[in-house]
Symmetry: C2
Subunit: 473 residues, 2 copies
């Protein structure tokens, strides 16, 4: 440990006494705890530019008064105090909200938490090897700040992948690596000078991104959904020059925007000079029908800003996401945000590059499609078995979550499920304003649970919900 007291040579109090008083006070107020070894005299002299004599005198005084004791090899150990002294008042923080969520979710036996992924099929060994290889690199740049837009190799691999998997044609220069979707949207708000401006967004929609817009001083114009996705006439009426949308798998409802609507949307955007942020967050996992190319793939006039993430398709802990910018915006990015350092670690980026380059990513996606499809099938069939027609399932074609709709209050259902150790989630935050639809819907993510856990979880839900509904009657 080191100590950094404020010592003043001008004062009448000698330096050794100032040092002694500082340490004594820290011991009394809990800043230095019992059992701590004070820094060796030599270190403290060097650190504080004091003479050996000064530090020695301060230490001797402390030991003489019983605050510390001398140990073999010139160590000074802090002793426990008789009475407990109050810690300094500024150390109190009201952290009522912080530990809550973690505690609750760890208590649940079956947690249908959205955002959890399947770790049992994750190729830990391969990923470790990629990280190891990245760390073994001779390339010194890997240990500095790295390219401000992200590792060029990774961006090249992404360009290939996005073309093959999503029909997106782009060059690495259009890609910016970010550390998560919210980080990406924050950069876009800055790039597009969004503060004080209007953003149209699906309602319900992803609250995590909406809060980024709001925190950047944007106003949100909520746009309703139809059975086939965003309401285009409402959108046109909004006069917004930026739209945030999840066309491949609407969040949270799960519908896929059909091709006709995509083309109409693009035509409108081009005519009205609107930018569309397409959040393609989990398009990898589709279980029915033919994949539709991303909006960006159809975007001839360059109105679409494409967002993707490795959080669903790979690992949330990589904290890697990406933006594909229209080429005119790629230049503006350079101009306006060119001085920003990259926020994702070059080491993780390099490992991800190796993982993609060697073909592991493609293989992983292919495997996970099957794994999630299996889980998804299990979930749907368990719900049908246990609830029959009492439960409507929403958004069952794709992704890592579904919505369940009943005629009953979601809050009660969530509470009852939790009592039996099953966590399902409310959806009300996805609406910009409180909305009646949300009150009877619960959300269930299934990525992190095994098929057996899913079955067991749903059967417990039946117990929790059906038995109590009988009591209610």
């Amino acid at each position: 440990m080191e100590l950094t007291p404020l010592l003043n040579k001008q004062l009448k109090t000698p330096l050794y006494m100032q040092l002694y008083q500082y340490i004594k006070k820290e011991i009394e107020t809990g800043g230095i705890s019992p059992g701590t070894l004070l820094p060796p005299i030599r270190h403290l002299c060097e650190h504080l530019q004091l003479s050996k004599n000064t530090v020695e005198s301060a230490y001797q005084q402390l030991t003489a008064e019983g605050y510390t004791e001398s140990m073999p090899r010139i160590c000074i150990k802090v002793l426990p105090l008789e009475k407990t002294l109050m810690p300094p008042s500024q150390l109190k923080v009201h952290t009522n909200r912080e530990p809550k969520e973690t505690e609750q979710s760890s208590a649940a036996t079956y947690d249908f938490k959205y955002g959890d992924i399947d770790l049992s099929h994750f190729p830990f060994k391969t990923w470790r090897r990629c990280l190891q290889n990245a760390l073994d690199s001779e390339d010194h740049d890997l240990f500095l700040y790295g390219d401000h837009k992200g590792d060029f190799g990774l961006r090249s691999e992404l360009a290939k992948y996005l073309f093959q998997a999503r029909g997106v044609r782009c060059v690495p220069e259009q890609i910016v690596i970010c550390s998560g979707t919210q980080n990406a949207v924050g950069l876009l708000c800055q790039l597009l000078s969004m503060n004080g401006r209007l953003v149209a967004a699906e309602n319900p929609g992803y609250d995590g991104v909406r809060s980024v817009f709001l925190n950047h001083g944007c106003a949100i114009q909520p746009i309703g959904l139809e059975t086939d996705g965003i309401n285009l006439s409402q959108l046109a009426a909004s006069r917004a020059k930026l739209v945030y949308i999840t066309p491949s798998h609407q969040f949270p409802y799960g519908m896929v925007l059909p091709i006709q609507k995509r083309l109409k949307l693009l035509e409108w955007a081009s005519r009205e000079n609107v930018y569309i942020i397409e959040d393609d967050y989990d398009s990898e996992f589709r279980y029915q029908g033919r994949p539709i190319p991303s909006l960006k793939a159809l975007d001839k006039k360059e109105n679409v800003i494409y967002l993707g993430t490795f959080s669903k398709s790979f690992l949330p802990a990589a904290r890697l996401s990406y933006i594909v910018l229209p080429s005119k915006l790629a230049d503006e990015f350079q101009e306006k945000l060119g001085r920003y350092s990259q926020s994702a670690s070059p080491i993780i980026q390099k490992a991800m590059f190796l993982f993609m380059k060697e073909g592991f990513f493609e293989r992983h996606i292919r495997k996970m499609k099957k794994v999630y499809q299996e889980k998804h099938k299990t979930l749907i069939s368990a719900i049908k078995t246990h609830f029959g027609n009492d439960m409507e399932i929403i958004g069952e074609k794709a992704g890592l979550h579904i919505l369940m709709k009943t005629g009953r209050r979601a809050r009660d259902l969530i509470h009852k499920a939790e009592k039996l150790g099953v966590k399902v989630y409310q959806v009300s935050d996805f609406w910009l304003e409180p909305h009646e639809s949300s009150s009877s819907i619960v959300m269930a993510g299934f990525g992190g649970l095994s098929a057996a856990e899913i079955e067991e979880g749903i059967s417990i839900l039946r117990k929790a919900w059906l038995s109590s509904s009988k009591q209610e009657r």
Copy 2:
């Protein structure tokens, strides 16, 4: 690879023909390059939900026309085209600014680049082991999103470290881990709803942070420097409610704000209800005099928001920085930014936690202090030897860079040095507006060079500058 064409059953053109046309066009325009293996029929059927027959017919047509050839084990390989076809027009991006910097700096033999650190003393083995241990963890949360404020263990270690090294008293709940200083300042702009508001900042000062403020819609009020740091009367006159300052080691001038001025600044901030962002970016490395506690350490009224980074003290590639929030702002952070995911990887955070917990960080800092002090001494004495009184050295008490001031134009000096393979840097960007002082100053970072390289680099500078100054006469 996968392909995601837009296929339409309603069209008269049969699906196999649509698929064939799509692939053919991609080959012609360079979207699919020669040598590529097309996806196995089975995969493509599954991916596009097509019959085996459809895909087979499309592939046969391509092979019949010489675009592809069949390979053993049902692989289809793309063949090179006779004539080079133009890539699609939207793939062109004007990237004139991107590769420039990298090319230039890699060409230099001695690059006095600010931001480079000493990697030859970096404990790669230990750091690898910490990363390995983090990856071996059984804790599943480590592979998901992690705590939104950052790993609790790391925040606890930081709280201890900041108390010992910088006199900052805080609890982990006040600390937010970020991925770099600019990321941190971006979050603060959102937390404090800074858009449209005034920020006072040292002028000259760190342009990287200034651009974050500007991109968040802030106006910058430049505050001049005196020989002992920021001009307090100018600051008071600015009426700004937020100040960004580098008191421990002014960037780029290097002066240390003396204790009297610190106390005055804090008193003013408390009286006027101003938040001070203290950027303590490289306070670890001081070579003269006694360390002064951070502003935050003296901040009884909680007006100081403290920023720190691991980029100088540890490794830029960790992309880890941190904010210490006053406790009232810690609550507001939870309220306003509580839905944000953490942007630093939980894996890197855990490794950093282990590195600190086992005492390696403290040992590393102690070692690096000596290493940089040695380099710094070499640099100063080389400049004195080669330039004598012709060169003024600015900011020589601390940090990883110095400024050199001559009577001559910095632009010419930089150009002449570069011709002989030595890179030094201009400082004009640090001023908000063009300023005459900047025209005769060059910046030299020394963290990334060895003592021998520093000596050699400076002796080349003499050749470059003195010989040419003779020619000029």
